[in-house]
C-alpha cells in the first residue's frame, strides 16, 4: 500500500474495466435523455402540423428510450455495486495482509528470545553476580579472614614488643625476684613454667644488657 513502485495488478485492470463500463453507460444515458427530449419536441412539432401518426411514432420512440434508460439504471447500479464489492474485498485483503505481517514479526521477535535462552541468561546472570561477590570479598573482606591467624600473631608480637618497651625500670634487688618466680612456678602448669623460665631468662638477659649499658 502506498508503494511508489507498486505495479498495476490484474485487479486494478478489472476495476478499471468496470469503471470504464460505468462511464460508458453514463454517456449512453446522457445520449438517451437527449434523444428522448428530441422525440418529445418532434411529437409536438408533428402535432402542430397535424401529423398525428408522426407524433405517435415519436412518442413511441421516446417511451422506448425511457425504458432503455431505466434498464441501464439497473445495470449501472449493478456495476457500481460490483466495483465497490471488489474494492472493499481488496481493502479487506490489505487489512489481512497487514495483520499477517504484524503477527509474523511478533513471532520473529519471540523466536529471538526463546524461554530456554532466557532461563539460561538468568542463570548466567546469577552466576555472574555470585562471581562478582566473590571478587568483592576477595578484594575487601576475605583476605583478612584467611590471614587472620597470621595477623593476630603479628599483633600479639607487636603488643609484646610494646610491653617490653613499657616495662618499668628493673629493680636493683635481684634476689626478691627469684623468690617470687619460685612461688609462681608452683601455681602454674609446666608449660607456663617453661614459658616463665624463658621470660625469666630473657629478663635476665635484658637485665644484664641494661646493667652493662
Amino acid at each position: 500500500m502506498g508503494n511508489k513502485s507498486s505495479k498495476i495488478t490484474s485487479q486494478d485492470r478489472a476495476i478499471l474495466d468496470l469503471k470504464v463500463q460505468r462511464d460508458k453507460l453514463k454517456q449512453y444515458q446522457k445520449k438517451l435523455q437527449i434523444v428522448a427530449e428530441k422525440e418529445t419536441q418532434v411529437a409536438k412539432e408533428a402535432l402542430l402540423k397535424n401529423n398525428k401518426r408522426g407524433a405517435l411514432l415519436a412518442l413511441k420512440k421516446k417511451k422506448y428510450q425511457e425504458q432503455l434508460l431505466s434498464k441501464s439504471d439497473a445495470q449501472l447500479l449493478n456495476l457500481e455495486q460490483l466495483t465497490q464489492s471488489i474494492e472493499f474485498a481488496l481493502v479487506e485483503k490489505d487489512v489481512f495482509a497487514g495483520l499477517e505481517q504484524g503477527n509474523l514479526i511478533l513471532k520473529e521477535i519471540h523466536n529471538e528470545t526463546p524461554i530456554e535462552k532466557v532461563e539460561k541468561l538468568m542463570e548466567d546472570t546469577a552466576d555472574a553476580i555470585a562471581y562478582q561477590n566473590e571478587i568483592s570479598e576477595a578484594l575487601s573482606g576475605k583476605l583478612t579472614s584467611e590471614d587472620e591467624d597470621e595477623i593476630l600473631a603479628e599483633l600479639a608480637q607487636i603488643e609484646k614488643e610494646r610491653l617490653v618497651d613499657e616495662l618499668p625500670p628493673v629493680p636493683m634487688q635481684a634476689p626478691v625476684r627469684e623468690d617470687e618466680t619460685e612461688n609462681i612456678e608452683e601455681s602454674i602448669s609446666k608449660q607456663q613454667e617453661v614459658k616463665a623460665k624463658k621470660s625469666q631468662k630473657e629478663n635476665r638477659k635484658l637485665e644484664a644488657a641494661l646493667e652493662t649499658a
Binding site: 502506498g2 513502485s5 507498486s6 498495476i8 486494478d12 476495476i15 469503471k19 470504464v20 462511464d23
Partner: protein, 186 residues
C-alpha cells in the same frame, strides 16, 4: 455566452489591433493581449484557440457604436501566441502549423497539483479512477478541472506519473485509460 466577460478599456482602443512597429511598444502590446486572452479563457473555461475561428469572436474584434470596427490580423495573433508560447502560457498544437493553440491559464503542473489534491482530499488514494471520470465524472463536479481539455489533462497526469504519484494504465478489454493514485503529496 452565459455571464459575459468584461474587457479592459484597452480592448476598445483601435491601435491595439495593429501590430506596433516599435519593439518595446510591441512587447507591451503582446503582453496585454496575452493577459486578455488568459483572463477570457479562464472566465469561460476554454482551453483551445482555433485561430481562424477565434478571429471572428468578440475576443479579437471591436465594434463601437460610432461604427469603428477593428479586427486582429492572423499574423498579429500568431505573433502574440508566439510570445505566450515562450512564457509557457500557450502551446502550438501541431507546430510548425500555427492554426491552433492550447491556452494554459493554469500550467499543467498546477492542474496536476489540483488533481492530486482532489484525490488526497476525497480519499481516493490507491483506488482506480478513469481518465474520463477526472474531467467529466460526477465526483469532480464543482472542481476547477471539471471539463478540462483532454490534452491538458493527459499532460497533467504525465507530470504526476513522472513524480511517482500516479500510474496510468489500460484496462484488459478497452483502450480507455485509468489512473491509480498512490496518495503521495506531489
Amino acid at each position: 455566452m452565459e455571464n459575459s466577460f468584461s474587457f479592459p478599456s484597452i480592448h476598445n482602443f483601435p491601435p491595439f489591433y495593429t501590430l506596433q512597429p516599435t519593439q518595446t511598444t510591441w512587447q507591451n502590446q503582446a503582453a496585454l493581449w496575452s493577459e486578455i486572452i488568459l483572463a477570457y479563457y479562464r472566465h469561460h473555461k476554454l482551453y483551445r484557440l482555433e485561430l481562424f475561428e477565434s478571429l471572428n469572436s468578440e475576443l479579437f474584434n471591436f465594434n463601437n457604436n460610432q461604427g469603428i470596427k477593428r479586427r486582429l490580423r492572423l499574423e498579429t495573433l500568431q505573433a502574440i501566441i508566439d510570445t505566450m508560447v515562450k512564457r509557457g502560457t500557450a502551446e502550438w498544437e501541431s507546430p510548425p502549423k500555427k492554426v491552433s493553440a492550447i491556452i494554459y491559464w493554469r500550467k499543467p503542473e498546477e492542474w496536476a497539483n489540483l488533481i492530486n489534491n482532489w484525490i488526497l482530499e476525497t480519499g481516493m488514494s490507491n483506488s482506480i479512477v478513469t481518465v474520463y471520470e477526472i474531467a467529466h465524472g460526477e465526483s469532480s463536479e464543482g472542481f476547477e478541472f471539471h471539463g478540462l481539455d483532454q490534452t491538458i489533462l493527459m499532460k497533467a497526469l504525465d507530470i504526476l506519473v513522472k513524480k511517482g504519484v500516479a500510474q496510468i494504465f489500460q484496462g484488459t478489454s478497452t483502450d480507455d485509460m485509468g489512473v491509480k493514485f498512490f496518495g503521495i503529496n506531489g
